[in-house]
């Protein structure tokens, strides 16, 4: 009989709906000509009216990058990228820094509305301050005034360089050095904008801070930098979302995120990554090669990464924690979905440096279609990290039999007192579960998303409310066409 065929067909027909954010905004933009050399770096820096020290910092990164080989160890395959073919700067043509939303091009505001991120004050998302980054530049930041009353700085990176150079200078590159890796070096040379936040000592940020990244221009990469500092005893929850138009060619997204948590500070960083994944045959889609790292600088600092990775043709991403302060805590909660021809090589690094540091890693990998999903994680306990503890749980769910799941844990223990636990499971989506749901009247695609959401529960519950709902829907959309 043909129940599974039926399932397949229902879901196929649904997949016509496809990627919802694939539209292009028709807007005039300033772009750098394709190619990358020192002049490109100078061009970008000049466009942004940057101080000399930052230009020098970029140039140092560029020189390092030129000497670096592209990493090849990840379990992902793609044709060589021609770094000279891309354009490294694209900005919507408008006044340099809009003073208010009235000065922002209405076409841009409409774009964000379409994406479900209204930026106009009256429609603004309650309790979420948004920095909207369009191609290379930040176009608007909401709730700035309200945050400033608490001494919280939340602005675009470019603005931070101008208004708070001492903070930027003090922290930039201290967690992810310019020459950290190939993509981070590239980013350091050509980054265009991004978000900056500073939470002063003892302040609990009263709302979610959020950056919404949008790639629009063709043939351009996006290289943004986020720098987030929680001073002593501060708390902040930060959200990051992203989408891109549907295009046939691959586009590179190489971002760098640096987090610094001082003594007793806490940073919660959540990502819902929904870059265009390419079509069913693997044409197009974003290469998401991102370096994210947080440093727990002081005692009892805590950094939590939560990510839901549903988009991108290729994901190469390892949000990590440097647990420097004694009793500091690192957490990594991840859901990564690969469908069709998507590839994901993602995981984390927990580097235990201080005493009694602890880390938790919960990774849920879901593979469907011909998707390839790799968890790659490092737990390193340094000699000084007396009493370090780690718990790692990696679960993989396979939908269909042409996809793959791989778990690659690296464990390096240099202190005998460390307690490290690793659990891993791989399972196929169960026909019994699907049938049980269907027998209660739940449609195939809803049954699938119900089961997958259940599988991801431990991670989804870490997301802020507004995002959790969005993430659940996204999981369903990402799995379209995957049962059969």
């Amino acid at each position: 009989m043909s129940a599974s065929l039926e399932t397949q067909q229902t879901i196929r027909s649904l997949s016509d709906e496809g990627y919802k954010y694939g539209f292009v905004t028709d807007i005039e933009s300033d772009s750098a000509p394709p190619g990358l050399d020192e002049d490109t770096v100078r061009f970008i820096s000049a466009k942004k009216d940057e101080p000399e020290w930052l230009l020098e910092w970029r140039l140092a990164a560029f020189r390092a990058w030129r000497e670096m080989p592209e990493p090849e160890w990840a379990k992902v395959e793609f044709p060589p990228i021609d770094y000279q073919a891309a354009s490294y700067y694209s900005a919507p043509r408008q006044q340099a820094t809009p003073k208010s939303l009235d000065e922002v091009d209405p076409e841009l505001l409409r774009t964000y509305e379409k994406l479900g991120i209204p930026l106009r004050e009256r429609e603004i998302l309650a309790g979420v301050a948004v920095d909207a980054v369009f191609d290379s530049v930040s176009v608007a930041t909401t709730f700035k005034g309200q945050l400033a009353e608490l001494g919280i700085i939340f602005c675009s990176f470019g603005e931070a360089v101008k208004e708070h150079p001492e903070l930027v200078k003090k922290y930039l590159g201290t967690v992810v050095p310019q020459n950290d890796n190939f993509y981070a070096a590239l980013n350091s040379a050509v980054f265009s904008d991004g978000s900056f936040a500073y939470i002063p000592p003892g302040v609990r940020c009263p709302m979610e801070l959020s950056t919404y990244f949008r790639i629009n221009a063709r043939n351009s990469g996006q290289f943004e930098r986020t720098l987030l500092i929680a001073d002593k005893g501060a708390y902040v929850s930060y959200l990051e979302g992203c989408t891109a138009p549907q295009r046939d060619e691959n586009q590179l997204h190489a971002a760098v995120v640096e987090l610094i948590a001082h003594e007793d500070a806490q940073i919660k960083y959540s990502t819902v990554q929904n870059w265009y994944p390419g079509d069913a045959e693997g044409k197009g889609g974003i290469y998401n090669f991102v370096t994210k790292r947080g440093a727990c600088r002081g005692a009892r600092a805590k950094i939590s990464w939560t990510q839901v990775e549903t988009g991108s043709a290729i994901t190469w991403k390892y949000p990590s924690c440097l647990l420097e302060g004694d009793d500091s805590v690192g957490e990594f909660y991840s859901v990564a979905i690969t469908n069709n021809r998507q590839q994901a090589d993602t995981g984390t690094k927990m580097i235990h440096i201080g005493r009694n540091t602890s880390s938790t890693i919960i990774s849920k990998g879901i593979s469907a279609g011909r998707g390839q999903n790799t968890y790659r994680g490092l737990v390193r306990v340094q000699p000084r990290a007396q009493g370090a503890r780690n718990y790692t749980q990696c679960d993989s769910l396979l939908i269909g039999d042409r996809c793959g799941a791989h778990t690659v844990p690296y464990i390096e223990i240099r202190n005998p007192s460390a307690k490290v636990e690793h659990e891993a499971t791989t399972s196929k989506i169960s026909e019994d579960q699907l049938f049980y749901c269907r027998q209660r009247g739940i449609k195939d695609e809803d049954a699938l998303s119900l089961i997958v959401n259940g599988f991801c529960k431990e991670v989804l519950k870490e997301l802020p409310m507004e995002f959790a709902v969005e993430a659940q829907k996204l999981l369903a959309v990402s799995l379209e066409g995957s049962v059969g």
Binding site: M1, A3, E6, D432, F435, R438, G441, L450
Partner: protein, 256 residues
Amino acid sequence: MMLEIKNLHARLADGREILKGVDLSVDDGEVHAIMGPNGSGKSTLAAVLAGRDGYEVTEGSVTYRGRDLFAMPADERAREGVFLAFQYPVEIPGVNNMYFLRAALNAQRRHRGEPELDAGQFLRVVRQKLKLLDIADDLLQRAVNVGFSGGEKKRNEVFQMAVLEPRLAILDETDSGLDIDALRVVARGVNGLRTPDRSIVLITHYKRLLDYIEPDHVHVLQDGRIVQSGGKELAAELERRGYGTFGEQPEVAASA
């Protein structure tokens, strides 16, 4: 007529025929009991009726409330009022029992053109049914069937039936593994759901259940066929004599 099964043949993917010509008619409001030895095809019949994957219907027809049952996919059959209480209820980790049941009820309500229930409204519907089946509130907050005891799983099935209010309920060994008190509770639950427009098919090995839920008809399914039908006294006879005697009936033996 609620359900009319005619000469139903079904086989497994490997070609082995399990149902070898089942005939059964269930009228509105009737309770039918199906008994029969292990492996005779009782659960297979239930699975084929519910639309489970992995069985091929090679012959015969099933009409459900005037419609060709096999023309509907499994989930549509459910929304049209066919309910199966599973012999082995499935665990769904991470999915809240209440959330699951509300998703199911709302899917069915949408299908009938009725407004969906929000969490609060749903809770009100559910509260009284919980009491009916003596189910603790906390069972609702746990993941579907995960860590439920055998008895809790069975009670949860009947609870789902009570909430979904199907037209045709097939209960596959819902009495197995229940202690005597739980059996009474489940029977009370099922009896409470007996209405003139709801039919129930009870698959069971034990006359005991039929003492609590009195059937209108009892059938013996053996080797993929209904070999004997009668009133509730048939259950008592079976208990005395076992299935062996039916198997020895010449026409059954000949075709085996």
